[in-house]
Symmetry: none
Subunit: 217 residues, 4 copies
């Protein structure tokens, strides 16, 4: 297929791209080197030449993906304007990126559901960096007295986990809706509505003190 490039970086990138897609679609074990090679139009041995082994490729794929999203989020983040603005940027950037690269959420969920059985430091570190970023936004909000009762880990999963799940289950939800028309699986919701909704709700949940809630007026 792809003409023999003889360009190491291009070949590597090509393999990573296609592997990412396949790993996300079928999982680590169910993705074979043959399959990846065929998809890339590259000889199977090249995978081992460039990445040493399958785990090495997987690791490269994950680093690549997480690096990318972290960069995306951190650079778009209107850092330090205000915790609320930062939070909004975080949520919307993350959501948009996931929507554009839907393999990522699948990979992350799978990785988390294994307790990271498959993967090494680097990947683990990247996940942590993302959490650290959100964490610092939330803490700043608390310091400024605009967020209350924040447990960052839980809020993190409420945001990131929910987005991941909504993105990966998109086909499944469409399917479920088709079968049972009264069931609203948000199958038509687009990513902007979703991230708006999440942001609005998370904002509420962070701003309102537990004791006050609606009792105010």
């Amino acid at each position: 297929m792809a003409k023999q490039t003889r360009d190491a970086e291009a070949t590597k990138a090509n393999i990573i791209q296609n592997a990412m897609m396949l790993f996300a679609k079928n999982g680590y074990d169910a993705t074979t080197a043959d399959e990846i090679a065929k998809e890339c139009g590259v000889n199977k041995a090249m995978i081992f030449y460039y990445f040493k082994n399958k785990a090495g490729l997987y690791s490269a794929v994950m680093s690549h993906a997480l690096e990318a999203i972290h960069n995306e989020v951190i650079t778009t983040d209107k850092c330090c304007v205000s915790p609320l603005a930062d939070l909004e940027a975080f949520i919307k950037t993350y959501a948009k990126y996931c929507d554009a690269h839907p393999y990522l959420p699948a990979l992350i969920l799978r990785e988390l559901s294994d307790s990271g059985a498959h993967l090494p430091e680097m990947v683990f570190g990247s996940l942590r960096k993302l959490f650290t970023l959100l964490s610092s936004i939330l803490k700043e909000g608390e310091t400024q007295g605009i967020f209350h009762n924040v447990t960052p880990m839980i809020v993190h999963f409420m945001i990131v986990g929910t987005i991941n799940l909504l993105v990966t289950t998109k086909p499944l939800r469409a399917n479920a809706a088709a079968l049972e028309s009264e069931l609203d699986t948000c199958s038509e919701c687009d990513i902007d509505e979703i991230s708006d909704y999440i942001f609005t709700k998370i904002k509420l949940l962070l701003e309102v003190k537990n004791e006050e809630n609606i009792t105010c007026a």
Copy 2:
């Protein structure tokens, strides 16, 4: 190992139990029939005798697990007392069950992250039933005017997804906390605190109208 029972139901249950654990721990592909058989103290052929093939066993495992949690949630549900009480029951029962049977969340997450590539009707139906249950609670709350701006699917993932992730990542979070002491990964949080927190926050998020938020006083 386990004495030869010659009791079909017991043998089947034994296999399902052990398979559930292994599938949850290692995923579908990485779990081998040999491994399951050894863990059960049963001849490998019994797996095929009772479940026809590996996929059949997986299907049985998933049905079993989802059936169980659905029953648990539905029977404990103080049905129809009030949407709020029902919601609390839903969240806490679900959380408690997951904590007690931590394979379940891993299985569910994995299944969702495939878009259900692996599994059949039954499983899919069970997942739907769980969502339908929460959905009806939320809708009743809206009808009664105590919940506002509810998008059930998203709220569902905010609850169920978050619990699943917190349960499955427990070891991972402990690990991360150990590496970097300032990072609060909620690694000490027990399931009751978690479900309390989630319930409180979800309650807020449902009860407050978007426009009002903290502007009240």
Copy 3:
């Protein structure tokens, strides 16, 4: 299926009947004990109870079948009327029996094509008896001066082998004829025409001295 008979002989006969069919259709290796049992409506263990093992069953099947054909041929043989009449009886009885019990030829051919790898004395003996019978007819004809230049083994295969092949290839020949209409595979020939033809031709071949053939007139 078949109600529990508790009649040993009936059960055995039932198993033999069905096994014969399956062995003929699929061959020894491709026929499983499960399959036979299901076809008979009998528990699989009975096969081993009555026949010790699969080879034992096969042996029983072959003996039964060869016994049957040998009896048929020998009793119908208008023995000793005249070699020609005996030959005709042999051919026609054999052909008719094969046509009525088409598993037999398949079993025999398969057995012969293995050089009898599968089977024991008894079967081997039965085959020999059949050949001995024809042999004696041919020899008697030679003694009486009406048959010439007889090599019994070759003539035997010309008769028995040809009938076996025509019977077993019946579906194949129909198939071939359907594909290529100009090809005459004798797919419409019935067993009487066939045995008439074979008898007529074999008669010629035995009666004419090699040197004379058509040179006569």
Copy 4:
């Protein structure tokens, strides 16, 4: 064992050769991939690498064998000299080839005794081609008025079937003769005698009109 050739065609041919022998000796089901690989001095996986699966290998083996005999027969055929000369060439070439490659007859007989359950078009086609060749010789003879009352399919089996049977049963016949010394199983007959005999007899059977037979002078 056999040194690693790294020559695809050689490896394939090697596998086909050995597989042909084993399939002929033990039949399709009783021949295992392990056995073939060991016999070839090749890694078992190569079988699947080159032939996709066991059935694929079998198919390749059959095509190869039938192709070979068809070529042999057709090139040796002194085509169109005279039907009688052609017939003689057909019979003798076929017999000689079978004698030299005794797996072939076993394979053919087995295939025929299944009604071709196992095998695909190609093989079926090759068998048909052989029959078509003989058929045309016989028809030409009839047109020229030297053969009479020809039913090609039956005559085909009388020739080809008989040769196949004689070749495959060679060990069996030797065995039978050893047991019972009076029985003449033609165990000493060599292939030239056999094909001479068959040719002579088939010639008779074709040339003499049914009604005349020995009645001549």
